[in-house]
Structures are given as C-alpha cells and as structure tokens.
C-alpha cells in the first residue's frame, strides 16, 4: 500500500470519531463561559465608558461576586464622579461632538456609527430630547459571532438637555445581546456647586443586569456545541491541508526516487 493509501484510511477513521459531549459545567474563572461573559460585558462597557481603564476591574470583581449566588437576576451598580474644569456649556457641546471628531474617531475606532434616530425640542421649557443609535464593532471569538449572529452591537442613547436649569442627562442601554446581559450607563452633567460658571461635575452610574442562570446554562450548552462543530470543521480543513501536503510529497518523492 502506498503512503497515500495509508493517509486515506486514517481520514475515514477520523470521520467516524464521535467527539464526547462535555456534560459537566462549572463557573470557574477559567471556564469559557466566564470569559465569554466578561467579554460581553466589557464590550458593552466600551459604548461610552467615559472613564477608561476601570471596566475590566469592575467586571472581574463583579463576576466573581455574582456567580457565587443563585439569584434569578443579578444587578450591580457602580457610580463615579469627575470634575471638568470647563464650563457646563463647553462640556455638553463636547459631549455632542465626541464621536464625530476625527481625532476621537481614531481612538474610539470601535464606534462604527452614531446616528440620531429622533429629536424633540420643547420650545416652551427649553428642553431638548434626543435618541441616538450607537453601533459598536465587536470583533471577538468566533463562537460569539456564531451565537449572536453578528459582530456588531447596537446601543441606544437617550439624552435630555435642560438649558434653563443647565443640566444634561444621558442614558445608554444595549439593544443587542439583551437576552444575556443588560448594561445601562447613566451620565449627568451639572455645573459644579463650588464653581458653577467655570466647572462641570459629571456623575456616572453603571448598572449591569445578568439574566437568570438557567439562561446562562443553556447558553453554555450552545457555546459548547458550537465549539464542537467548529472543531470538527477545522479538523476537516486540517485534513484537507494534510492531504494536499502528502500528495505534494508523494509527487516529489516519486520524481526524485526517494520515498518519504
């Protein structure tokens, strides 16, 4: 039997191999689900995370806390404060322009589109209501794309600016991935009480709501199956490559009279 023949036989054997389905499922920090969820949330955090660098830390501690419990829905909230040494008018103007500026676009390259869906001006009270869609590019593990069906995430941002009282409130929520996790970010810009004409205080509140564990368990099963499917596909691809390589070697050896 030739070298090629042996290879072909091996391939047939591989095709009939059943990949054992992993039944056990645990929430360790190394589990794929843990990493998957961390990833999901970190993604959503990126929407408008005005204080970069803290998302990952919050996340990890949050996930460590929550998986010890078996509540139906887990909610966690975080709040932060920041003082801008700029007048409120300037800060709110900046907030509107944040995504459109070319320099920012480079830094916020994961923000693909920001579209105004709706706006309403209350000309009596001086209040401006705006709804915007924020589309985020979410390149991630292939299994995420398989499950979610896309590598983009949509968020909706609602804003109210009250020009009379000088306040701006923003609320951003994810529209995508809502089955698994809901992240809501609220931001409020007000004149700083200590220096209302020169400074602006920004208060931010982020809440994360993770859907019931039953959902997570079924999700984990799906991920698992997708992993197996993908592994099988890739095995086939790998075998294809091997086949071609073997044929190449076979042709080379026969022309040179050396057997490999």
């Amino acid at each position: 039997m030739s070298v090629n023949g042996v290879i072909t036989e091996t391939v047939i054997e591989h095709r009939t191999t059943q990949f054992p389905k992993i039944k056990r499922f645990s929430f360790s920090s190394n589990s794929p689900l843990f990493r998957f969820l961390s990833y999901l949330i970190s993604l959503l955090f990126r929407t408008g995370f005005r204080f970069p660098g803290q998302g990952a830390f919050i996340l990890i501690s949050f996930l460590r806390d929550s998986f010890g419990q078996t509540q139906a829905t887990m909610v966690k909230a975080y709040s932060q404060e920041h003082t801008y040494k700029h007048p409120w008018e300037r800060v709110t103007s900046a907030s509107w322009r944040k995504f459109a500026d070319p320099e920012n676009k480079r830094i916020l390259s994961h923000i693909l589109e920001v579209d105004t869906l709706n706006h309403n001006l209350d000309s009596k009270s001086g209040k401006l209501y705006t709804t915007r869609a924020i589309t985020i590019h979410a390149p991630g593990p292939w299994f995420l794309r398989k499950i979610v069906g896309q590598d983009i995430c949509h968020c909706v941002e609602s804003t109210v600016v009250d020009a009379k009282t000088r306040s701006m409130q923003l609320a951003t929520k994810n529209i995508s991935l809502q089955k698994y996790v809901e992240v809501e970010e609220k931001i409020r810009y007000d004149p700083h009480p200590e220096n209302p004409n020169e400074w602006t205080i920004c208060r931010q509140e982020t809440s994360i709501r993770i859907k019931p564990l039953s959902t997570l368990a079924s999700m984990a099963e799906k991920i698992e199956q997708k992993c197996v499917d993908k592994f099988q596909q890739n095995s086939a691809k790998g075998r294809e490559v091997m086949e071609r390589m073997c044929k190449y070697l076979e042709a080379e050896s026969s022309s040179r009279g050396i057997s490999v």
């Binding site: 000309s123 401006l128 589309t135 909706v156 109210v160 609220k186």
Partner: protein
C-alpha cells in the same frame, strides 16, 4: 492546526453609511445650533429642519436593524432617563 477565524460578516457594519454625508450635514448644523443658539437661550425655534428631514429619510431606508427602526418610527416620544440623585 488552529481555529481559523471567520473573516466574513463585515457588511452589516456599514448599514447606515450611505447616509454619512447627510448625517455630517445635520450634525454640523446641529452642533452649531446647540452652541450658538440653544445654549444661549434661543430655543424657541427649531433649526436644521431640512437637513434633518433628508437625513431621516435616508436612515429610514437604510436602517436594517428592527430594534433601531422602532426608535426611528416613534417620533416625538420623550424618553426621559431616570434622574440620578443629586
């Protein structure tokens, strides 16, 4: 043998880009109006109406995501975020 990454699925990321020019025109107008008029107390009159109409028409044609279209259709709805305690 490694897990080969899926390269497709980038077309969905540019759903509203046909409206990019109209969006830029509207945004420019809006930002100017916001800084020069609205913040200075001239909020009695809405501006950038023609820019908005063109941009919105374009969006309604190109917005594929149904969850987002819902917001587009709900014109005039006042969505007030629950205030954060001062």
């Amino acid at each position: 043998m490694g897990f080969i990454r899926d390269k497709r699925n980038s077309s969905s990321s540019t759903t509203t880009s046909p409206c990019a020019d109209l969006r830029a025109a509207y945004n420019n107008c809006f930002n100017k109006w916001y800084s020069d008029k609205f913040l200075k107390g001239h909020w009695d009159k809405e501006e950038c109406v023609s820019e908005w109409d063109k941009y919105r028409d374009c969006l309604s044609k190109h917005l594929e995501d149904k969850n987002l279209s819902r917001f587009l259709e709900a014109e005039g709805v006042k969505r007030i975020p629950a205030p954060i305690a001062k």
